[in-house]
């Protein structure tokens, strides 16, 4: 199957993206990436601890992976822009996942600040992937601003509650002419497959993999589920419509 996901200038085969946070041991990341053929991996940017310089996460990310730095820690558009610029200066490409969170209770994204940051970063030549609550109007604004994809949440970060926002994500898939990547809240491979069957372009999951008893196998399970969902979508499930195609036409008498 030559089914590639195009984001910016990159062509991606494996539509399961994973994060590198919450792992009990970062050293399993290379195995996890290799065994599943994962291509896109997210990272965060933090201050170096001068008292005990830790190992850098980049050591564990195999060459050839596309690095997707996030702006986690940003509480407004300005901070997100600042973090994005710093991330790019690390010399690992110009992809950026905008993540602006002011809410420490649910960790829900601030769509308004996210949209502002997206607009600025697109102008600076970033490949922008904003993480948002699924809202059609915001997604349209982001599309007009020139982002590369839209990443709506399935449920609040780290909850493993699945595709709670299904109806809203469906609307984004139907209405936005960009890859829709479901990011956050996906807890099971079946939920990832569900998102892909609907026509999502990719799924990003971190907690569900990192906190599994066997993260390497769980990454593989997700990768396969995403692939299965994608195949199902391409095989004629077609875009899910809000109404069934009736077997008997109502307007046949007109022809």
């Amino acid at each position: 199957m030559t089914d590639k996901l195009k984001i910016g200038e990159q062509e991606i085969t494996n539509r399961f993206f994973t994060g590198t946070g919450k792992h009990s041991n970062d050293s399993i990341i290379p195995q996890l990436v290799h065994e599943s053929g994962i291509e896109v991996v997210t990272v965060a940017l933090r201050r170096v601890d001068l008292t005990s310089p830790e190992e850098n996460i980049l050591h564990h990310i195999p060459k050839g992976c596309i690095l997707l730095p996030n702006t986690s820690g940003a509480r407004n558009a300005e901070e997100a822009v600042r973090i994005a610029r710093l991330a790019r200066a690390c010399g690992c490409g110009d992809w950026i996942k905008i993540e602006v969170i002011r809410d420490n209770k649910y960790l829900l994204p601030d769509n308004y600040e996210t949209a502002k940051a997206a607009e600025m970063l697109v102008k600076e030549g970033f490949v922008v992937l904003p993480y948002v609550s699924p809202d059609l109007m915001v997604a349209k604004d982001l599309e007009n601003a020139g982002v590369a994809a839209v990443m709506p949440l399935g449920a609040p970060i780290g909850t493993n509650r699945g595709l709670q926002t299904k109806e809203m994500v469906r609307i984004l898939i139907d209405e936005i002419n960009l890859p829709i990547i479901v990011d956050a809240g996906i807890g099971r491979p079946s939920e990832a497959a569900e998102a892909m069957e609907m026509g999502a372009a990719a799924v990003l999951a971190n907690t569900a993999v990192a906190t599994a008893l066997d993260p390497v196998n769980m990454a593989k399970a997700f990768s396969m589920a995403v692939d299965a969902g994608r195949r199902a979508y391409l095989s004629g499930l077609g875009p899910i419509k809000t109404e069934a195609e009736a077997s008997s036409p109502l307007t046949g008498f007109l022809s």
């Binding site: 994060g19 965060a44 933090r46 170096v48 001068l50 986690s72 710093l86």
Partner: protein, 66 residues
Amino acid sequence: MKITVNGEQRNLDQKVSLHEFLEQNKINLNVVVVEHNYHILDREKWKDIALKDGDNLEILQFVGGG
């Protein structure tokens, strides 16, 4: 002289370049990014910057994240 590094005050006994400061602190030069007085510095410039009193440094690197 006093400088601020990652939000913390540090005393420097002698004049050093940014590059020297990073080496002294055993920082892996290949993986960090440095913001000097809120400007991101290309790594080629690290040797040219002499740290001075009141400077603000942010030294950052990638960590695990989702």
